[in-house]
């Protein structure tokens, strides 16, 4: 599925100052990309991802999905939302059913699936996000901890089996294990299920580790759009934009400045450790 944004600008109708949340965005997203979308709060990330599945219509420009201009078409939005699943920022605000089962089943039921099929999907999705089906299915989503609620919301989107999965700051509030599970889940969905994934996150190490393309936004514009190594080599600019470097990059970069000539385009701990110890052995400086 090809998603294309052409000259897209957006101003929220209730924004009296008329700030452009998005300014003339041009973007193509192809099958089986893993995109990391980063930028300071208010840079336009959530607006952008909501345009991608038709939740908001741009003030100008067009959003084209599989050749269909969804900014013109009135019909077909339901089909698009089935194919492009969006896990909202603060998804726990969207929980509303009495039980966890009911909440995750809501989407599949709307697809008109049989109750047996719905149950299979709910079970599968809960297990995918690391919630035990028997333990959680009858609990009220409102009595769960924040991290557990987050997982229920992600399960609800997975139960729709979308082709493209968009997650808007999904790991905010998750504990380290929950975050690790989420990372493994995204790796699994990307590598084994061939999904296209768009991940909005403030955790640069997550982005650097997972994404093959990083889009950096600021003030409604795309500042960088490249592979992680390229983007995170823009050390000064990344800092100016109020963002972090991935911690590993930060360490390698500082070592480099101190004269230890390690590579700085490494994003895994094991490789970084390998690189540092190799350089240290051969170096006189440190």
């Amino acid at each position: 599925m090809l998603i294309e944004l052409k000259n897209v600008s957006h101003i929220y109708a209730d924004d009296f100052q008329g700030t452009e949340a998005l300014k003339n965005i041009n973007l193509k997203i192809r099958d089986h990309e893993f995109i990391g979308l980063v930028g300071h709060t208010g840079s336009g990330k959530s607006t952008l991802v909501q345009l991608l599945n038709g939740l908001i219509k741009p003030s100008s420009g067009s959003v084209i999905i599989d050749g269909v201009n969804i900014t013109e078409e009135k019909t077909g939005l339901l089909g698009i939302r089935r194919k492009i699943g969006l896990v909202f920022q603060y998804p726990e605000h969207q929980l509303f059913e009495e039980t966890v089962f009911g909440d995750v089943a809501f989407g599949p039921r709307n697809l008109g699936l049989s109750e047996e099929e719905v149950e299979v999907r709910v079970r599968e999705s809960l297990e995918l996000v690391g919630l035990d089906y028997e333990e959680f299915k009858d609990r009220s989503p409102f009595n769960l901890s924040g991290g557990q609620q987050r997982k229920v919301a992600i399960a609800g989107v997975l139960a729709m089996k979308p082709e493209v999965l968009i997650l808007d700051e999904p790991s905010a509030g998750l504990d380290p294990q929950g975050r690790q599970q989420l990372i493994s889940l995204l790796e699994y969905l990307y590598n084994k299920k061939g999904m296209t994934i768009i991940l909005v996150s403030h955790r640069m190490e997550e982005i650097a580790h997972l994404a093959n393309r990083v889009i950096v936004m600021s003030e409604g514009e795309i500042i960088f759009d490249d592979n992680p190594a390229k983007v995170f080599s823009e050390v000064e600019r990344i800092r100016e934009l109020g963002l972090d470097l991935p911690e590993i990059t930060e360490i390698l970069w500082r070592l480099n400045r101190k004269g230890l000539k390690v590579r700085t385009d490494i994003f895994s701990l094991a490789e970084a450790v390998e690189e540092i110890s190799r350089e240290l052995r051969g170096s006189e400086i440190c």
């Binding site: 930028g39 300071h40 709060t41 208010g42 603060y90 009595n143 769960l144 901890s145 924040g146 991290g147 557990q148 700051e169 905010a172 509030g173 998750l174 504990d175 380290p176 294990q177 929950g178 975050r179 690790q180 403030h202 640069m204 190490e205 109020g242 963002l243 972090d244 911690e247 590993i248 930060e250 360490i251 500082r254 070592l255 101190k258 004269g259 230890l260 701990l269 094991a270 970084a272 450790v273 540092i276 110890s277 240290l280 400086i285 440190c286």
Partner: protein
């Protein structure tokens, strides 16, 4: 006398389910900076709510500055002593101007206006937001909103601020602002800080870390003591700061590195 003392505290939301807290014994002295880590559902927020009487224990006692939270007559005084800051900055700000928001708490305490004026100015200054006093809060960044929420608490002149994942929804810049602010309040204003977080690297500057697991205190210790036990933390679904893990892995390769907690310390020990 300790500022906060919990003795054999249990808490259950609901008789059908396992208790959210079991036999918690904990003392916090005035002036301490304590970080609490623990998996989702381990009881951190429940513990926090017991401290300023949003909840009272099912068994055991919570004593704040000598006052038992079981006694309703103490509630107002305790809530004035122990302020709470929550995760989502948008839910905490109610007024249309920053300074009105900060004045809200002291007004409710019935403090006279000239005194409120002073307190609001002081509080905004303490969080570095004095320039924004006339702004509508919704125009601020996430980190700025959290600092205003913190100012609203400071204006009540509390002895302790409990922050429940205050940086979870912030961007990197906002996280830095909030962490700098609470360390400043602790060091310069002597305010006791209890800081709940999932960012392990935010805890390295604490005096003490409390590790929660399944409703109990698993252990407490200094950051160095806690993060030395990498496997123990990983078993609980927690982690250590990435630099600590990197130092650990480098040591396995025969490189001599002392105990470190920050990027600066690691880089300095490697290139000295």
């Amino acid at each position: 006398m300790a500022l906060i003392e919990l003795r054999g505290v249990d808490f259950s939301y609901n008789e059908m389910e396992a208790p959210a807290l079991k036999n918690i014994n904990l003392t916090v002295e005035a002036g301490e900076f304590v970080s609490i880590i623990g998996g989702n559902g381990s009881g951190k927020s429940t513990l926090a709510k017991l401290l300023n009487v949003l909840l009272v224990p099912s068994a055991g006692e919570v004593i704040i500055d000598g006052m038992n939270t079981a006694d309703e007559e103490n509630w107002l005084k305790i809530r004035q002593k122990i302020g709470m800051v929550f995760q989502n900055p948008d839910n905490q700000l109610v007024a249309t101007r920053v300074e009105d928001d900060v004045a809200f708490g002291p007004e409710n305490l019935g403090i006279p206006s000239p005194e409120i004026r002073k307190r609001v100015d002081k509080a905004l200054e303490a969080v570095g937001m004095e320039r924004f006093k006339d702004y509508p809060p919704h125009n601020l960044s996430g980190g700025q909103k959290q600092r205003v929420a913190i100012a609203g608490i400071i204006a009540m002149e509390p002895e302790c601020i409990v922050l429940d994942e205050p940086t979870a929804m912030l961007d990197p810049q906002g996280r830095k602002e909030v962490m700098e602010t609470i360390h400043f309040l602790n060091k310069e204003k002597g305010i006791t800080i209890i800081h709940i977080t999932h960012f392990m690297e935010e805890t390295v500057g604490a005096d003490r870390i409390i590790v929660m697991n399944q409703g109990s205190i698993h252990k407490t210790g200094s950051p160095l003591e806690i993060f030395r036990e990498i496997d123990d933390l990983k078993k609980l679904g927690l982690d250590v700061p990435l630099v600590v893990e990197m130092a650990h892995e480098l040591r396995k390769k025969g490189i001599k590195i002392p105990d470190i907690l920050s990027i600066n310390e690691l880089v300095d020990s490697l290139c000295s």
